[in-house]
Amino acid sequence: MILRTAAALVAALVLAAPAAAACTQPRTSLSYLEGQIMCPTCHTTLDQSSAPAALRIEALISKRIAQCWTADQIRAELVQNFGAGILAAPPRKGFDLLAWWLPIAGVIAGAALLAFGVWRWSRARDGDGEPPPGDAGRLDPESERRLDDALARFE
């Protein structure tokens, strides 16, 4: 059993080494790509699907990885074959950039609105109970005279 395992390991190393050496750049991996690619029939990512279409796409990705294709090249081939809907996330260029920036802009706008509301509310609270500034709190002479008369009647 141990001998058989060792032989299989040696054979795998012997076969894999020239193949890996043949690639001029680091290979991408199926596990890296399968979370970024959708299964077209079940609308989940490949890593969550065992549908026949997903398995065929995984087989194609594995084949392309063995042929030293980069992740970008594989994604481009899949988009050409299945359309942009095959990607789990929209591309970060052109009109699709909106899908990335709009949520961020929404969060910033919401935070700014919240901050402004809190600032307004705290200012309104600070103003409560303070005497009106300037002459606004003073009575005119006629009213002052009538108030003095009224107070005098109580004395």
Binding site: P40, T41, P52, A53, R56, L60, N81, F82, G83
Partner: protein, 180 residues
């Protein structure tokens, strides 16, 4: 200043709500419904997988068409391929056009499938599945029949025509496409 700000805020909020409502209405009005038998067959123009160029359904007006959705990863499609090819050979002398639509499939796998099963009628590629969705298909294989005037006729077959009941419906569908 504060009145202007308040007004701006209200306008922005209203615009956001209107935008959301617009999206909801758009989504509801653009949901795909399966086409009705007797109604016009949804138009499409797709790239050929068995050769170069595109096939436009409108260009087939005047001919009865058997439209079969399939995929190389679909097990029942493998069983159906020979039956469809035999039917094509049986009906082509009467002017019936068979058109295979390869749905959500890898191009290389589809070509291997066609070669392996000796499929000789025209096949186009619907990689994104947009045309299949327009026809409201729920899986593969599924078959539609289109008459000379571009209307869907007969029955919509959901399943392989190797099934005796579906095989009968298939022949009825071809006859309906030929007769109208």
């Amino acid at each position: 200043m504060s009145r202007t700000l308040k007004l701006s805020g209200q306008v922005i909020a209203l615009a956001a709500v209107a935008g959301m409502l617009g999206l909801l209405v758009w989504r509801l009005t653009h949901q795909s419904h399966p086409p009705k038998i007797g109604g016009p067959a949804p138009a499409f123009s797709l790239k050929r997988i068995d050769g170069s160029g595109v096939v436009d359904l409108a260009a087939l007006r005047g001919k009865p068409v058997v439209l079969n959705f399939w995929a190389s990863w679909c097990v029942p499609c493998k069983g159906e391929a020979a039956a469809l090819e035999a039917a094509y050979k049986r009906y082509r002398s009467q002017g019936v056009v068979f058109l295979g639509v390869d749905y959500h499939d890898v191009t290389g796998d589809a070509r291997t499938f066609l070669s392996h099963h000796d499929v000789t009628y025209t096949t186009v590629q619907d990689g994104s599945g947009m045309v299949g969705d327009r026809y409201g298909i729920t899986g593969v294989p599924e078959t539609y029949f289109i008459d000379r005037r571009g209307r869907l006729v007969g029955v919509h077959i959901a399943g392989p025509i190797t099934d005796p009941k579906l095989a009968r419906q298939f022949d009825e569908g071809v006859r309906a496409a030929l007769s109208s």
